[in-house]
């Protein structure tokens, strides 16, 4: 791949020359300004505390205390289990839909690289490997943090993996640049799952996600960060989180590229 042209449109990435661009000399592949600006970023200061959606896109009456009604419903129903919160980077729009379709269904795994900077930064912040957290630790004299966080991509079933050729969640997880642990596997097809409506999905008891027992010791008492491409209803991520319960992790959070 060529860092000078946009991964989406193939046009030159005409970045204005500034001191910053000169100094950082970023020649890694990415998107051009025009393509980037068509994505809708979620302002992290004004997002739902639990699912990460952009609260600015919601009617005030569906928000209370920085939490959206959907998440209130999850809290009330007691369906959260050990699932903590989700952070999402972009809202879903037509442009994102187009790009994600090419990424996920047409198999253009290379597109993920265009999201590396943001995804990596967000991931490292959650697991406490960003420079700010480092600095705080140094200032507070905690040089050897004992707290660890394990990155786990949402799995695909064997059939789906064969059909698609790659797991989009794994590709995203690898952007963070920390070890990725394939602790979950998925049994049973995804297709049936998505045809069911929300209630059916909640009510049907059996969990398609299974924890690989080999990892259960590693996960005991740690933080888990689940990675997926999109947070839709949150049901799938919560089911995946439930599969961790046997290993008794400290908490399970998730990071998704999109909320929509």
């Amino acid at each position: 791949m060529n860092g000078l042209v946009c991964l989406i449109c193939g046009q030159d990435r005409q970045e204005r020359m500034t001191f910053r661009t000169l100094l950082s000399a970023d020649s890694s592949p990415g998107f051009c300004r025009t393509c980037r600006e068509k994505f809708v970023k979620i302002p992290q200061g004004h997002s739902c505390r639990l699912c990460g959606r952009d609260l600015g896109l919601m009617d005030e009456k569906f928000i209370s205390g920085s939490v959206c009604t959907d998440c209130r419903r999850w809290e009330k129903s007691g369906g959260n289990g050990c699932f903590g919160r989700n952070i999402a980077l972009y809202s879903y729009n037509d442009w994102m839909k187009e790009v994600i379709t090419t990424f996920k269904f047409r198999g253009d795994a290379a597109l993920a690289v265009g999201f590396r900077k943001e995804f990596r930064a967000a991931g490292r912040k959650i697991i406490g490997k960003d420079w700010r957290t480092h600095w705080e630790r140094l200032r507070n004299g905690k040089h050897h943090p004992r707290e660890t966080c394990v990155i786990v991509p949402m799995p695909l079933s064997g059939n789906r993996l064969k059909e698609r050729g790659f797991n989009q969640a794994e590709v995203l997880a690898e952007l963070i640049g920390e070890p990725v642990v394939p602790a979950l596997c998925r049994i049973g097809g995804e297709r049936k799952q998505s045809k069911k409506n929300r209630r059916e999905r909640l009510e049907s008891g059996e969990n398609p996600f299974k924890l690989d027992e080999a990892f259960s010791e590693v996960l005991h008492g740690t933080k888990v960060l689940l990675i997926d491409d999109i947070y839709t209803t949150g049901a799938t991520l919560r089911r995946a989180a439930a599969a961790f319960e046997r290993a008794d992790p400290k908490c399970v959070d998730s990071l998704t590229l999109i909320h929509g």
Partner: protein, 477 residues
């Protein structure tokens, strides 16, 4: 009988599988037949499998750079930058894939492309006495001469260039050659880089050959007839074919993206049978074809007169002052507005070509503000593009503001044209000649105004005007 112990798989092939695969190049996993059946056909030598991505990594170049060279066998992409790799969920290894032809389904290192190499299916050959062409119009003397030369070149298996002014009536002069090829039982494809052109040609070709199944292939088309001997397709769609057509006709050979995308030339070459003859049609042929023709290496004919016998309208230049600045202030230049007002009052359909999508939106908006009703803007990504073009053709839209996407293919009787911002670099000689060619196409309205609105004449504008004047001189005017 017990004595004949041959299993049927080794002595006969599946006709359905042949019908599906013949003339196509298809990734193995997309063939809707059982894996066992396909494997039997491979071992019997009826189906050939090729690696989707070919790698050459042993050369000197790669030994010093550590880089391998890749070739996507489906689309011909050999540009290192247009490949990427992933840990493949299919084969479990690190697989390279082609980013260039992704939208037709991904091709990876582990993809096998299947082609039919067994006996070809029989074809229904029409009886020689049959008359296939139902077109009843008359060809002009220039068209008649060109049609005859094309017909004999294609019959003799030679390639041919038709270098014809816009509005020369290129489509009709293909009819005799196409008819004779069909009578010989050959498969003919009429291909063009532009979807709009396919959509315009399809009904005309179907009307001309009512007895023959005709397929129209473009992104999202539904006019697919299996085994149609006559196919009209965007050049892009030819990628799926493999050694299928006996005759290939490429209309608008200089149009974007054919001329800029080597993949499309590769697609044409692959879709054609070995040694198939190719006819190229253009008003502004690219340099390689032009030179081959002028030096006598490529047979061909030049038509400098429109079918109706009237000269090409010659563009006028009109100065607008600093149009980018006017637009920034939200006003259209006065000379432009006055021209549009005059034409609109005379009830002529107007094309208004602009240099960019942004300007298509802006100029449309400003014209609407000026009080013009039925103005619409179109560009390549416009989802309603086809509806708007139809509405313009039917007279429901009177002013169509467009990017160069409509520089060719769309014919509207009586239409006149303006190029707004003709000094912008997107308007090169070829584009300006094509745009000027939108005007005066019909026999009842052979005249019409074509104006280049500019803030300073460019060399390209002058070349375009000279080109048109030269063609008129050659046409005897």
């Amino acid at each position: 009988m017990l004595s004949s112990s041959h299993s049927p798989e080794t002595t006969s092939f599946s006709k359905d599988l042949r019908q599906f695969l013949y003339g196509r190049e298809c990734p193995l996993e997309e063939i809707p037949f059982s894996e066992q059946l396909i494997r039997d056909h491979v071992s019997a030598g009826w189906i050939n499998l090729t690696d989707g991505i070919q790698t050459s990594g042993d050369g000197f170049f790669s030994s010093i750079t550590g880089r391998k060279k890749y070739l996507c066998v489906r689309c011909g992409n050999a540009n290192f930058a247009a490949f990427a790799s992933i840990t493949c969920g299919r084969c479990g290894r690190n697989c390279v894939y082609c980013r260039h032809c992704l939208n037709m389904g991904v091709i990876r290192s582990c993809t096998k492309l299947a082609t039919w190499i067994g006996p070809a299916p029989d074809r229904a050959v029409p009886t020689p006495e049959e008359k296939l062409c139902a077109w009843s119009g008359n060809l002009s003397p220039e068209q008649t001469k060109a049609a005859a030369e094309l017909d004999s070149a294609l019959s003799e298996g030679d390639s041919f260039l038709i270098w014809a002014v816009t509005g020369a009536g290129k489509t009709e002069l293909l009819f005799p050659a196409v008819e004779h090829a069909l009578l010989r039982g050959e498969r003919v494809v009429l291909s063009t880089p532009r979807t709009d052109v396919v959509r315009e040609l399809y009904p005309r070709i179907k009307a001309a050959f009512p007895e023959i199944p005709v397929s129209a292939l473009y992104g999202g088309s539904s006019e697919r007839q299996p085994e149609a001997p006559l196919v009209i397709a965007t050049t892009h769609q030819l990628i799926r074919f493999h050694r299928y057509f006996d005759r290939v006709i490429i209309d608008e050979v200089d149009a974007f993206p054919y001329h800029f995308d080597p993949m499309l030339a590769y697609a044409v070459k692959k879709a054609a049978k070995k040694g198939a003859s190719i006819a190229y049609l253009s008003a502004t042929p690219p340099a390689d074809l032009k030179n081959a023709f002028l030096s006598g290496k490529l047979r061909g004919v030049k038509i400098s007169r429109r079918y109706h016998g009237f000269p090409l309208p010659v563009p006028r230049f009109m100065w607008t002052g600093n149009w980018p600045q006017s637009l920034r202030k939200g006003v259209l230049p006065k000379s432009f507005i006055e021209w549009v007002r005059g034409k609109n009052a005379a009830d002529r359909p107007l094309f208004c070509f602009v240099p960019s999508v942004r300007l298509a939106h802006l100029v449309t908006e400003l014209l609407q503000k000026e009080g013009f009703a039925s103005v619409a803007g179109v560009h390549a990504q416009d989802p309603n593009r086809h509806e708007k073009v139809t509405a313009f053709r039917e007279g429901r839209i009177r002013i169509l503001v467009t990017t160069t996407i409509l520089e060719r293919g769309v014919t509207v009787p009586g239409a006149e044209a303006a190029v707004f911002g003709a000094d912008d670099p997107v308007f090169d000689e070829r584009a300006l000649v094509q745009i000027s060619g939108r005007v005066g196409r019909s026999a009842d309205r052979p005249d019409g105004d074509i104006v280049f609105f500019h803030n300073g004449k460019t060399l390209e504008m002058i070349r375009a005007r000279r080109h048109i004047e030269q063609m008129n001189r050659e046409g005897g005017f």
